[in-house]
Point group: D3
Chain length 69, copies 6
């Protein structure tokens, strides 16, 4: 399968908490070598992002899509 | 700083490609131990997600927010 | 009303499940002729997307905004 | 493959427009019978959503993920 | 019109920058009294969020949907 | 801290409602002068967006990320 997304992380399910409508699933990361972000060129310039910069990548859990073979 | 998000990945900028409005930034992952996903309880049940399952996490680059100290 | 979004689907509410904070609403589709996706040009090339390709469009329920006249 | 998402639409690529960083892809819908939305229970009540209501579903193109077998 | 979203800000277009595929639009805020955020209960507890806390709300521009009457 | 996002709103927590998995937090806005939206150039043209237009900005609560110093 090919996905229209730049980030694929291999992971193993650690815990599942089922709520009435939404559920929270935790994973141990198996492999995550490279990540990609798309943002406005304005934001890149306001941050002064350059190769070598150490940063944090913040991702809301709601934007993470699990796929199971 | 405390963020209202469950996923924080430490990473280093590898490349920056600035377009006319949007930019694509690539990162080498320094540390990503645990990830979390929120989805409907229906989806969890349709997938039969259980601890130990190996899965892939797909994340569109647009949903990745870089933060720089 | 004009919306800053490329996808509009006409639909009828089939069921409503109200949870403590979030609710899940199901719809029967009345009309959905065309859809649009924005992704990185890199992803389009990695997928080799071309006119005529049959694909699946995956959309998390959280990204679907109901509007009622 | 099983996806942690409630909406799957079968579609055929109609056009591809590649920009410098982002691309816009248009699809003809082959099949889209049912859709689902997650929103706050507060929003459901403010809208007075009930079975039978005809509504529009608005989805930004950026939230549509193409998957190709 | 009723929207399945908790945040509505009245604003006036200040500038429009059209790129090849994506565009960046800036607005002057006319009215924004209240905002709402949905996050995991875990995140709320990790942040120790309580009434009276002063915080920042970060929103990627891609998640802002303009609607024109 | 510098964020890869165009919108920052200063606000004060008004109420916190914790559900089993997700929580809804309400804020009083302290300061929100300017907002930005990214959408397709096609959408901008379909809407005929021009400086001076009064519009509404709709944002699902799930896309609002609180950050606390």
């Amino acid at each position: 399968m090919k996905y229209g997304a730049r980030n694929t992380i291999k992971a193993k399910v650690k815990s599942v908490k089922k709520g009435d409508v939404m559920a929270l699933v935790k994973f141990d990361v198996i492999q995550a070598d490279e990540m990609a972000s798309v943002l406005t060129t304005e934001s890149v310039e306001a941050m002064g992002l350059q190769p070598g910069d150490e940063i944090q990548l913040i991702i809301k859990a709601i934007h993470v899509l699990p796929v199971k073979a």
